[in-house]
């Protein structure tokens, strides 16, 4: 497929906003609820996920295309992908530790958590399911990562306000957090129309 800039932009926008991984597709909900307590962690987690998503897409796509598909080993996809992601996360951590200690200091603690973040595995599998080209897969990773970062940032802001709220006793803690997530999720419906109207015609 030829390089189509409009299609790339649609993929990024749709992954980041309309099909936001956390709020619309429920991928990566655990870190979303667990880590979004302060801005610093949210930004750290958001950037780490974006970075790992791009790396993971860049590695898994050729492996699927040039290794699993030709040899008829498509059924090994899940096993191979999760191992790649786990290895990749460790390699990234070691590299950062050696060559960029300041970045490691701020992102390091988030990296091991990403192994079990279903957003990363979900993204790499859906890249294949959607039959994306390599560039499209990278675009989807960028969009999904930025969408995750955006959702984390917005939600952190809401949660800080929530700390001052006084809901009924049974709603304290997780229930009221989930209700706020629901409202944020409703807000993301608006992006559908925005992107339709920009790229529709």
């Amino acid at each position: 497929m030829e390089f189509d800039i409009k299609q790339i932009i649609i993929i990024i926008m749709s992954a980041a906003f309309v099909n936001n991984y956390v709020l619309r597709q429920f991928l990566g909900v655990c870190p979303f609820l667990g880590v979004s307590k302060d801005i610093k962690s949210s930004v750290g987690m958001g950037f780490s996920v974006t970075f790992v998503m791009i790396m993971a897409s860049a590695v898994t796509w050729p492996i699927q295309r040039y290794l699993l598909d030709p040899s008829g080993l498509e059924f090994m996809q899940t096993v191979v992908f999760i191992l790649i992601i786990a290895t990749l996360v460790q390699l990234v951590e070691i590299t950062l530790k050696k060559f960029a200690p300041p970045i490691h200091a701020s992102l390091g603690i988030f990296l091991p958590l990403i192994v079990t973040n279903c957003a990363v595995l979900g993204l790499t599998i859906s890249n294949i399911n959607n039959e994306y080209s390599f560039i499209m897969a990278i675009a989807a990773a960028l969009g999904a990562g930025l969408g995750f970062l955006l959702a984390m940032l917005l939600f952190t802001g809401i949660r800080q306000e929530l700390a001052n709220a006084n809901p009924p006793d049974s709603f304290k803690g997780m229930p009221i957090t989930l209700i706020s997530a629901a409202i944020l999720s409703i807000a993301f419906f608006a992006f559908e129309g925005v992107i339709e109207n920009i790229f529709g015609k």
């Binding site: 039959e131 419906f189 559908e192």
Partner: protein, 174 residues
Amino acid sequence: MFREYIKPLLVVTIICVVASAALAAVNGMTEPIIREAAEARANEMMKELIPEAAGFERIDISANDKVPDTVTQIFETSNNAGYVFIAEVSGFSGIINVICAIDSDGKIIKASTLSHTETQGIGTILDQESFLTPFTGSDYRLDGIDTVTGATISTSAYIGAIGDIFTAFDAIYN
């Protein structure tokens, strides 16, 4: 040395090998079932599009350059009741699988959507009769068929797929 390095490595390797072997064995058992079921579903779908067809035969299009890449499968009916085309296009998010039956005069018998991963809401238009029915009876000019406001990206991708199907039709049967 053995305890430190070789043993852990050995255990992981053995687990990997055993797991892969087990998966390969199960895959060998389930794969034919999955393939047969998929063929049966496709046949049923095609039967729905052309009820009077006696049987469907897939034709080889891999050597034909004029067939657009988006058109993945073409079937002929044994009693000349029409042709069935399956096309894949990228929509808003992911693949839209379009299936379309065309009679020998180049008119659409019926168009339908095999599967799509478009967003709930805007994407569901692709399954709705109000969008699909106007295709019936139309020829390659697709007169009177337009994108649907609010779902322009999905519907224009769909209409583009039908266009590609006609290109393939022309390439093979005209």
